[in-house]
Amino acid sequence: MHLRMNPIARALIALVSTLALIGCGTNDKGNALPETPGEVAQEIVSYPVNGVLPKGLTWETNNEDPIFASADAKPGGTFRTYVLAFPLTIRRVGPDSNGSFAGYTRAGFLQLVSLHPNTRNFVPTLATHWAFDDDGKTVYYRLHPNAKWSDGTPITADDYLYTLDFMRSKHIVAPWYNNHYTTQIVNVVKYDDYTISIEGSSAKPKDEILYEYSMGPVPKHFHVLDENWVRENNWKVEPNNGPYQISKIEKGKYIEFTRKKDWWGNDLKYYRYRFNPNRIRVRVIRDVNIALQHFFKGELDTFGGVLPEFWHDKFKGKDFDNGYIHKIWFYTDNPQPAPGMWLNQSDSILSDQKVRYGLAHAMNIDKVITTVLRGDYRRQHTHHEGYGDYSNTSIRARAFDLTRANTLLDEAGWTERDDRGIRTKGQQTLSLRVTYGQSHHTPRLVILREEAKKAGIDLTLQLLDSSISFKQMLEKKHQIAWMGWSGGGLSPRYRQFYHSDNANKPQNNNLTNNAVPHMDNLIDQYRAATEKTDRVELAHQLEQMLHDTGAVIFTFKVPYTRDAYWRWMKLPEFRGTRVGGLFNPMGGQFWIDELERQSVLDDTAPKTAPVSILDTTYLSE
């Protein structure tokens, strides 16, 4: 193993010692680095080969899974979509780079391997093969020999080694990446120009290693890492390796991506028949309702309709009646976010389990779903839904039941009622503050509040600015936090949310201040287990224990995607994959019929009955 250091450390060493090679471990610095302050390492041509591949590696790949695109797809055309605000930068990392536009830029940078959306198996991308070390935390990759940056430079092992230097650099001003590429990904070794290994911090099951310790290369020949990096790269188009590259930036108005003519990945099995539009134009339209008008005029190709008022009320008009605009409601099956009411168990009222149970039975979530949410959303029962085997589907959330709520609250000693009908115990009133940060959730909370009154519970609504409300929750100053954690990953995560190490300390994700010794035990076992069957069994137990604490009242899930789209937008027969994203401009399977676009806009295309598709292929219940 050699010792790799970040550029600052290297520069420091260069400063304090003329013998720049001392202290750098083995022959890491074979080619002397001209990296003194003010002069930057641009001339580095390649990193030295540093490892000897262990014998007996079993190289794996995956070319057996079915493709998830249609051979009927026709390339060409321009896909037009919008964002609500012009991005502050097109950098991938660093300050202000995490806005809504980041999805577009980052999609241009592929990883070593990627997940097949339907089978959830890994498929080759920038790597053709991979192999696992016996230590349980190192994985070897064979790189695709044809992979190229958009400027034609081949992608080699050096770009992966450079990723560590880059992501660990203070110049990129990205603490999360600095930390991730130091504590999670601890080492990258080059064996030859097209073979590398990545070492993670701890042993994990194989699929978790591929998922957690995967990474993408950074174009070494392009970057100049110094204190000006952030400023100078705000609007510089970085060479990428995906199918699209930014071709035009009209500041404040739009950004245009163009399909690369001879993209190196055109022949990759799982990338064929996808990325069909020639151009993608992302306009800035600062208001959703105005964007909808642009869509109705045919200036945008699709429009998202997950929100009930759009789907039911605003998607109407003669273009829908004539079959010019179609609607699709497509159920998905992927890790769900976990929205809910996170009860602070250190609060004097909520520390009583009976109160927590009673509160759960007084929350009329179903009424919210059937009224303001139009019956579209579904009840979420556990923290981790949509994680395949890991999800414990036998648990049902506590249902609205005033009799049980009343019994539980009476048992907890809240027997008296005041003038408004709110329960009291001694001098205390059963009044609980709900902290939340999204004003459009107010109608949902108003209904819960009115229904909870029937059980003698008074909910006061504390609407704060979203970042302030989140801060208050992280500092555990809430009574009830109304929020949701995003979902994702291959398997559930418990430690950050429920381990007592994080309880009653500010700035962590244990919003319920959960501290159950037996749960801690299982969480540690879960993290240490490397066999999937053990992990699944432990995850089921943990989910049940969480349910028994009553610390979280889970609310809604939205296991679908909904869109309105003009008829010239074509979908494959199977319409979409398990994860949805039907019209995801950077990775979808759709294509555009430009001739039909013209005829529809001229009103010469044949009219049909209204089309509204409901696809329940991936509906899991």
């Binding site: 009320d313 139009r374 009908g421 209904i447 009115e450 059980a455 609407l463």
Partner: protein
């Protein structure tokens, strides 16, 4: 002994003049009636019944402790739904129980969600949602009425606070002049330049603003404008002959200010009052509209307005709140106009 205090002849003439300005006068009358009615809004717009007669006993649930459903033989312990109770009693013709509901049988908070229809629901006479319901299913009229009550009391209290500080400080600056005047002039100039809206936004994002915190913030940043007018007017009045004579007769500072200068500056104060009220209502509405005002679910015009503008498919939301605002602000402006004219010493003004 006089039965009514004798108004001074000038004031009498001003009142008579005000009364003769029909538009302003009637606006004032309607506005006063509205305010009086809204202060007893529980009797007009409420989900609690006015009177319930149940098995010979009369109940007056409007004010006071909640009555659980079991009081009237309904099988639940939470507050009685009097609309349902009314229907329930009416379905039993033999029995002598009855319920009298207020004109609008909804309060500003409860959600009324009829099956198979989704809020907002259009106005309906049969459901007694005279202006329809909002996006959560709450009665728009009830929210307008209670929102008005909050807005108008906010504007009035704000007015009193601002004027007390503004008039007192302005008077003092004009009366004492010199370094005191100079000092406060600079203080006010600096203070006026603090961007009020940003301060409100910052405060609203950190704490939940309630009626009184919002009031305090508005007073802290709103008292300045009146000081300038009072200062000039006091400067002017204090050099007048009648003030000098009062001084010569040995009148104290307090007497000079309260008995001589203030009454003679009253027309300035009075003229600004209606516009200050209009200002108070609009600023509360604007803050609520932007989401920095009173916390939900407080009934508020601004919140209704923001619902209305994002739900133009449900025109009753935006028309009712805009209609109400236009009506109130128009009346306030008419009153202000009439007051200004009535207190103007010149009956006719020629502009050159």
């Amino acid at each position: 002994m006089k039965l009514r205090p004798q108004l001074n002849p000038l004031t009498q003439r001003q009142l008579a003049r005000f009364r003769s300005l029909k538009r302003g006068y009637w606006s004032a009358v309607i506005l006063l009636i509205t305010i009086v009615l809204s202060s007893g809004a529980e009797l007009l717009v409420n989900s609690r019944a006015l009177i319930v007669s149940y098995e010979g006993n009369w109940f007056f649930p409007t004010y006071g402790k909640y009555l659980p459903g079991s009081t009237f033989g309904l099988g639940y312990e939470y507050e009685t739904n009097f609309r349902e109770l009314k229907v329930f009693f009416e379905r039993q013709p033999s029995n002598s129980n009855w319920v009298i509901m207020p004109l609008v049988p909804y309060n500003a908070f409860e959600v009324d969600l009829p099956a198979s229809r989704y809020p907002p629901n259009a106005p309906s006479l049969s459901e007694k949602h005279y202006l329809g319901t909002d996006t959560t299913g709450r009665d728009v009229l009830a929210r307008l009425v209670y929102g008005f009550r909050i807005a108008i009391s906010f504007a009035l209290i704000l007015l009193i606070c601002n004027y007390t500080i503004g008039v007192a400080l302005g008077c003092a600056m004009g009366f004492w002049g010199g370094a005191f005047d100079l000092f406060f002039q600079r203080v006010i100039e600096v203070w006026s330049n603090v961007p009020f809206l940003y301060v409100i936004m910052i405060i609203a994002s950190v704490i939940i603003p309630n009626f009184w915190t919002l009031m305090i913030v508005m007073v802290i940043f709103g008292w300045m404008s009146m000081t300038w007018y009072m200062r000039t007017s006091t400067y002017k009045e204090k050099t007048r002959a009648y003030v000098l004579s009062a001084r010569a007769l040995g009148a104290s500072n307090a007497r000079v200010i309260f008995s001589h200068i203030l009454p003679n500056s009253i027309s300035i104060i009075v003229t600004f009052v209606p516009f200050a009220i209009a200002g108070g209502i609009t600023s509360l509405t604007a803050l609520d509209y932007l989401g920095f005002g009173l916390p939900p679910p407080t009934p508020s015009w601004g919140e209704l307005l923001s619902q209305g503008t994002s739900q133009l498919e449900s025109p009753w939301l935006v028309t009712s709140v805009v209609g109400a605002m236009v009506a109130i602000l128009l009346m306030v402006t008419y009153v202000g106009e009439a007051v200004r004219e009535a207190f103007d010493p010149k009956k006719f003004t020629y502009y050159e």
